[in-house]
Symmetry: C2
Amino acid sequence: MTSAPSTPTKSSPPTTPYQELVVMLKQTNLLGSSSAILSWDQETMMPSQGLAFRAEQLAQLARFQHVHATDPKLGDLLGECESDSQLMSDPLSSAAVNVREARHKYDRATKLPVELVEELAKLSSLARHEWAEARRDSDFKRFLPWFEKTVELKQQEAKCFGWADDGEPWDALAEDYEPGCTAADVEKVFTPLREKLHKLIMQLTNSSTKPSGKFNQHKLPIDQQEKFVRYVSEQFGFDYTRGRLDRSTHPFCSGTHCNDVRLTTRFSENFVIDALGSTLHESGHGIYEQGLLYEHIGTPMGHAISLGIHESQSRMWENQVGRCLAFWKWCHPKLTDFFGSAVDGFTLEEVFGASNIVTPDYIRVEADEATYNMHIMIRFDLERGLLSGDLKPADVPGVWNAKYKDYLGIDIPDDRRGCLQDIHWSMGSMGYFPTYTLGNLYAAQLYDKAQADIPDLHDQFEAGEFGALKTWLNKNIHSHGQRYRAADLCEHVTGKALSADPLMQHLQGKLRPLYGI
Amino acid sequence: MTSAPSTPTKSSPPTTPYQELVVMLKQTNLLGSSSAILSWDQETMMPSQGLAFRAEQLAQLARFQHVHATDPKLGDLLGECESDSQLMSDPLSSAAVNVREARHKYDRATKLPVELVEELAKLSSLARHEWAEARRDSDFKRFLPWFEKTVELKQQEAKCFGWADDGEPWDALAEDYEPGCTAADVEKVFTPLREKLHKLIMQLTNSSTKPSGKFNQHKLPIDQQEKFVRYVSEQFGFDYTRGRLDRSTHPFCSGTHCNDVRLTTRFSENFVIDALGSTLHESGHGIYEQGLLYEHIGTPMGHAISLGIHESQSRMWENQVGRCLAFWKWCHPKLTDFFGSAVDGFTLEEVFGASNIVTPDYIRVEADEATYNMHIMIRFDLERGLLSGDLKPADVPGVWNAKYKDYLGIDIPDDRRGCLQDIHWSMGSMGYFPTYTLGNLYAAQLYDKAQADIPDLHDQFEAGEFGALKTWLNKNIHSHGQRYRAADLCEHVTGKALSADPLMQHLQGKLRPLYGI
């Protein structure tokens, strides 16, 4: 029984500049959230012929959003807030954080002309569709003109933002995904990681002992797979009264706000581990989104810090949890619950091993924990070249294939399994890929700390209890919103700057025994 | 292979007032179409806890839409167009029609304060949710405060619009659904229809011969039902590359534009005829929406005329086609294709009869072709009273139940099957219901003319060919957009003013033989 409705649109009008600022930020966010639903719908529900009109809808909302985000009134309010010394006295207070991050976004947004914003939104919608068709037919030429146009507009965008004297165009775009992180910063971490990882991958590849991959060729009905992965994600803590799981070509998590978080995944009949991994990955993103505080919706305090930290959440649930032995001790009997006699004969060791096979291969989103990072480093190299102009879009397939030979020792059979595999560039997301590997690094370092704080974590997993880890993440990561920048949060929580060591230790500690090393 | 993309947002700027007007109309329509997707999503996809935020999203878009629709610039452009005698020389030209109908909408929109528009949008979203919960629990008291608030705001809205001296508040709201149609007009048609229909219903109810209802108690798996109804709707001509079919509590068709039309339907295990009827009904709406011309999207020439004409399309495919013997001669063997031996023993005559049983009963959307109109007349009476203030919302259950006793001779067991059954009032749709019976009247009259123009129509149905009727409707109804007002279109196409005779002849001609009269 609910109480009688008060007039629902009336709330007391904002009286201070800060309150006015919050109202304006929430209005802009509201527009973005409507766009997010339309984009989600485009990927999951929209009939194929709805595309052209959808592009118009998204462009209109993007235009409104840009107008709101660059309203000079917003600049005035920010100035007033910044000069209010009491409001700003504690730099980690919600108000000070909201002002700081809103300023950062406002300054960036006002550097972009509205025409470019709208053009990018429209192009992204159309190019995404062309990419999907081109990928299906492995037809890079079909995508090329859209890719060229995208790179051209992204170069323009980078110029509008600008970059440091010792920087490069890539930095200007990466700022949207990983604030404060430059290509040089990334390279500094990636170079030592690449060497150590290369050594480990070679050791594993050359080992005569290998886990059996039989389970990964085993057909299981997709309807049952769907029920299974949904069940596991629910046990991990994804709340289905505040979210959904659907299917799309490229799995994603679209969080419009903490009470409406939409995951997608994908299935193939003979690879339930892939469906599980994708689902747990997106659930990790979803648990982060659901862990943001409702009271802060629409302000920086209610939003994720960076894609690197976001990815640390998805990777942790996918890899640190979903591929560890303790998890499989709990989950292995569940296979029988969901698939019945179809999984007879697959032992715990076999399934655990099958979920941890390391094989240099073509497809990033199917890659194992170890080789995955090599896929990222290749894309990072290419993005930098594309944005600086050193690499032409038409040359991408050739360079792509050469790098795969060099980094992973494999020959790419076609562009569908090569440079057309990812949706990102078609959506105009450039400067984005490295956040995946930053996420792996953050995940490993944060997880070490969670284990130190919760010593019986793996015993809990064996008993099917995942709530303590979720609560730890809610408290230490999610509830902060954008209070800290990524590197600061890492240091605040773990007491140390980001390092490649936890990730390498995690990989070596799990994989070497499985490969008899 | 597509050609290289030109910069996609650039189109030549509008140069005449009329071109400017069209651009403005399309922008407003674009906002409405984004709202429509969010509303559809709310009914079909949104997680339950997303509701409060969705109300904010819809209110924001409604506010933008209202600002666009009432922009004084629009009024100026309309004035300029109206004084361009060359542009307006042919009153049935696209330009003259667009100006005429845009003026009608503009004048109405400028009568509403933006606060009321937003308040209604927000209330509608929340009240709809409360209605769904109240209906589930048959708890009218839970819905009552939301209902009272809705009626109060709708009365305010009616006052803003105003009505003729000899009219009433109902007229002011009905204008949105059936332009030019007053309560007095409706009463003039409904009074004789009620008498004739009452007589027919009594004859059928008292007849000792009745079609068997056995098929309507026969359980069939819902997955197979879904495939079956989807197949039939596709054969009728609903294009699934330009639309979808999902499930919702109350079936609806949400057309954002001709290339993205979304139908919903509902299923119960032992009533495939209901699922088929609902689906064909919504498909009829969908075929109308898909038949509007893409070139006119966003302008009156690309929009449906009135709900009465819209309903004539849904009713025609549902009843004139989907419940006629020729249709069942084709469809009866399909039952075996979809349900196998589960439908063994049900003869053509039995299934045809089962789809044409007349039984005074509680639920409007499950009602047969004959009694359906009585449900409408009851709602019409109540709406008039609610809006004039003669009837208090709290008294609706009592009056509802008394009218059902009076018109249909039945006792309403609870509010779930009584006054809580329909979504309309919870959404603020008042002045809407009579368009359903106007639709039945238009359907019968238009169908007579289609049969005259296509003499072998029923032979075609028997062969599973429905394209000729669809083409006839595309040409005579859909492609006109809002060129004619409803009553004028009827006269233009059939050569006669709307009359109750075709509907009564259709009902008598089919039902009397089935009931041995």
